[in-house]
Subunit: 237 residues, 2 copies
DNA sequence: AAATAAACATGATAAAAATCATGTTTCTCC
DNA sequence: GGAGAAACATGATTTTTATCATGTTTATTT
């Protein structure tokens, strides 16, 4: 595991802060935070933190895309969540004083700040607004997890695959062409989110492609017929 | 929906408070809380709150067992969580100022307090310890949800069924005989937690019974061979 | 640029699980 | 206490999905 490059910038000038839980901080609080964080760059595929490790701070994604994964029963990877610029990562284990139950791995080159644990706890306690922001983030993650549970319980693989593409679109958006999903995942990674085998994932993407619902170009997936994809996902009415 | 019976008791004398998030309150805070809560009794099968409703307070279970369910795509019920004495219920929607995404239904006669929303928010803000308690509860729920996701993604129905029985045992414990799980669920409800069909649920319970892993008596399930059940669940090593 | 590995693809087969059908038992409510 | 409904049970069948096998394409590394 290569040591990530480090550099520092003031939080007051951070352009992603306003889209993060830290948008409630102001004035002197920002200077204080600057003194208790450090920023690092990561190459694609690097671990930000690993299952079973001890949290030493809170990660806040500056740029880049991250997958949060956990290892299942025969070592099979499960993708639990995806993170992007402005997201905090690794907050659950940190707040509840546990070891990490999941790992965070960059899906592309990334720049990520780590905010010192002691300072973060102090800030949480002295700034109820910040605490509320973190609680809301956890609340969203819980809601998302519960929706995922319902899907896995009640939908078939085809529906879940369509839903996963909509999820990727909702998370990372489109590229400039307004149809290509702005993230590159392997078929195996998609399968590890959907809860299916890599082969089934490949097959379904091919089918969707043949049905002109999506277009495939390497790892890039474009949504050609969004209404049809939504219908295939069988989203609640 | 019958109106639940109401009665009041002081929180200072509440015997379940110490096992709840409110164990951090003391002195005058308890009197204040007493003034901002009311307690009701519910018959088995009654709704405590319903999907899409607006939260008006926080529910805290005094006695009785509760299922938290959400409605899936063709109206199929999904059991997300179970609650017991000392658990808070309906906190997620309340805190994030949303409508309920799930319903809470009593599995047996129950007594449940509702704590006024405005007071609860004030208490959260003025008592960081209380906030931390709520955050820890949400953190546990999130962890549990993520574990459930991994199971649903990676385990087969047989493994999940064994796991569900272990989960019921962990949640509600045994009766006096130290082997009968202390809750009565229909096969359909168990299926709605496991993410399978009612028929498959019935069949698997019968198999487990034939294998002398469990014993069945109406809705009561006794664990006869715990190590075998753990092995069948294929719990992480 | 060649070698090697990883990712993608697709057919064939087997296993898992849902669905359909039908009957029995147990509960609930007049 | 009997009628009706809900829950439980089990066999037969079909559908879904995983697994195995094998080949091709695309990346990565030297």
């Amino acid at each position: 595991m290569k040591k990530p490059l480090q550099f520092e910038t003031g939080c007051a000038h951070c352009n992603v802060r306003m889209h993060s839980v830290f948008n409630v901080l102001e004035g002197e609080q920002l200077n204080e935070m600057t003194m208790h964080k450090s920023c690092s760059t990561y190459k694609k595929g690097q671990y930000v933190f690993a299952e079973n490790g001890l949290p030493s701070g809170l990660f806040c994604v500056n740029s880049g895309k991250i997958k949060i994964t956990t290892t299942g029963f025969d070592g099979k990877e499960q993708i639990l969540r995806l993170a992007k610029s402005g997201d905090i990562v690794g907050y659950r284990a940190l707040i509840s004083n546990e070891r990490y139950a999941s790992s965070a791995v960059t899906l592309e080159d990334a720049s990520i700040c780590i905010i010192d644990k002691a300072y973060f706890f102090k800030a949480l306690e002295s700034t109820p607004k910040l605490m509320f922001q973190v609680v809301k983030k956890m609340s969203r993650d819980l809601k998302e997890a519960e929706d995922h549970i319902v899907s896995l319980s009640q939908k078939n693989v085809r529906e879940r695959m369509a839903e996963a593409l909509l999820f990727l679109k909702a998370t990372y958006g489109f590229e400039e062409d307004q149809k290509t999903i702005n993230v590159s995942l392997t078929r195996e990674e998609i399968a590890d989110y959907v809860g299916t085998s890599t082969e089934s994932c490949i097959r379904l993407l091919s089918e969707f492609n043949q049905d002109k619902m999506i277009a495939l170009s390497g790892k890039k997936i474009s949504i050609i017929n969004l209404p049809m994809l939504i219908q295939t996902a069988n989203i609640e009415d």
